[in-house]
């Protein structure tokens, strides 16, 4: 399955979420964020079962340039974590959407999704 960035919803803090029919959101960071960070060296992931809240920090990503918190675009419980990603952060440069997913969250409040940006609004924010 390929994730189309045009169909995703975005937080202004550069995380994307893809809402599945099962009420589970797949979450990652945008190509714009990866390009801005570049040279990623470390990522701290959440744990399965952990509760995350919209706009709250769930992990961090570190590049040679700086460390940046990762904010969850939605609230819910973490049901899957992309553990292998930590050892192959270059995946994020190649494919930040399909291969570069970070975690899956069972949404506790699906109405939050409507507050997120669509692709057009997000790219406008990035000035691209």
């Amino acid at each position: 399955m390929t994730i189309d960035p045009k169909k995703l919803r975005y937080a202004s803090t550069h995380e994307w979420v893809d809402i599945g029919s099962d009420g589970v959101g797949t979450i990652g960071i945008s190509a714009f964020a990866v390009k801005e960070l570049t040279d990623l060296v470390f990522m701290a992931l959440p744990k399965i079962g952990q509760k995350v809240s919209a706009s709250q920090e769930f992990g961090e990503v570190e590049s040679v340039k700086a460390v940046s918190p990762l904010y969850s675009p939605v609230s819910g419980e973490v049901v899957a974590v992309h553990e292998e990603l930590v050892d192959q952060l270059e995946t994020l440069n190649e494919d930040p959407y399909t291969q570069g997913w970070i975690m899956k969250v069972k949404l506790s409040d699906p109405s939050e999704v409507s507050k997120l940006l669509d692709f057009a609004a997000y790219t406008a924010q990035c000035g691209e």
Partner: protein, 355 residues
């Protein structure tokens, strides 16, 4: 782009690691026009500067460059600078002081009362009418030699000359802030773009890259070079910062010399150290350094992932009593403890050096 001391500066052009490696392995080009450039001229210009700088200026010969500090009365560092003794094409001797961009206005202000004591000295802030470009890396000499008619290989380290590049007046000095061989060029602002393009074109085969602020920071960190606002500020004296080599107290007085003499005669409380960290997370400015019993012994002042060593490195200040190379310490990185070893500075030293 990031705003830095009033200049719009790129953090990176193509990527910090690629730019860093290009400088270490071949050659990198840096637009460092943000650095402050102050020109002092007049019969007693050397005496004025000698009164303000931690190193002797009155014995400087034309063509010499010295790294020095400017201190307050308490011995705290106002700025770290390069002072060059130069001769204009019309055979007039003058001094050029290169100061940190972030300190330029402070230093100009600091100079005012002292200038009043030396009425025959004129100070011109030439920062905005000139530009500054650094060419750094093992290929820097070869590259620059193709663009300059004066012999560069024989030019010593910390030497400077007023010359020209394809008819454009240029001050060239064998100095830098990367730990590599290379030059810093000062040209007229109107000529800067042409000089930059000439260098980029001439270095194409060598894989020259434009280098942003990000790699400038990782390069100087590996080279153990202090950055004002991190390893240096007005509460830090040069001795503690490990810059005693740039303080000459012998038979001279200057602003701060009394305090520095006192500091030098006492044992150090804290001192600047290098750290090599385990794992991949970098310790940034402000991270706490702890001993193996988790007692706080110091603070990180700069830290980053090191592209050359492929591990995080940092500089900081720790209690002098525990500052032993190889000592095991812990660093608190945003709430988690990471093991680290104190490491001698610089982390990186290039193999061959200039004459």
């Amino acid at each position: 782009m990031a705003e830095f001391a009033g200049f719009e500066m790129p953090i990176q052009y193509s990527g910090i690691v690629a730019e860093h490696n290009a400088t270490r392995n071949s050659v990198g080009l840096f637009d460092i026009s943000h650095m402050g450039r102050l020109r002092f001229e007049g019969p007693r210009a050397d005496q004025l500067l000698d009164h303000l700088l931690t190193r002797r200026v009155t014995d400087m010969q034309i063509g010499q460059v010295r790294y020095s500090l400017m201190c307050n009365e308490e011995g705290g560092v106002l700025d770290d600078v390069l002072v060059s003794c130069l001769e204009s094409p019309s055979s007039r001797q003058y001094f050029l002081l290169v100061v940190n961009a972030s300190n330029r206005m402070k230093i100009l202000h600091w100079l005012q009362p002292h200038l009043a004591d030396f009425p025959d000295v004129t100070l011109s802030d030439v920062t905005e009418q000139t530009a500054m470009i650094a060419v750094q890396g093992p290929q820097a000499v070869d590259l620059c030699q193709r663009l300059f008619s004066i012999p560069l290989d024989s030019m010593g380290y910390y030497r400077a000359k007023v010359t020209q590049q394809m008819g454009k007046p240029t001050i060239i000095s064998r100095t830098g802030y990367t730990g590599e061989d290379g030059f810093e060029l000062i040209v007229r602002a109107d000529d800067a773009q042409r000089v930059w393009e000439n260098l980029m074109l001439a270095g194409r085969e060598q894989g020259i890259m434009a280098i942003g602020l990000g790699a400038r920071d990782t390069l100087r960190l590996e080279a153990g070079m202090p950055l004002y606002g991190h390893e240096l500020d007005e509460t830090i004296d040069p001795i503690r910062a490990g810059l005693g080599f740039a303080v000459n107290l012998k038979e001279r007085t200057f602003i701060g010399s009394e305090s520095l003499a006192k500091i030098q005669s006492q044992s150090l409380s804290t001192t600047r150290v290098g750290l090599k960290l385990e794992g991949m997370r970098a310790a940034r400015q402000g991270a706490t350094i702890l001993d193996s019993d988790f007692r706080t012994i110091g603070l990180v002042t700069s830290g980053s992932f090191s592209p050359t060593f492929n591990q995080p490195i940092a500089m900081g200040f720790v209690d002098a009593a525990v500052a032993k190379d190889g000592a095991n310490v812990e660093v608190d990185i945003r709430g988690s403890r990471v093991s680290a070893k104190l490491s001698p500075l610089p982390f990186y030293r290039r193999k061959s050096s200039a004459k």
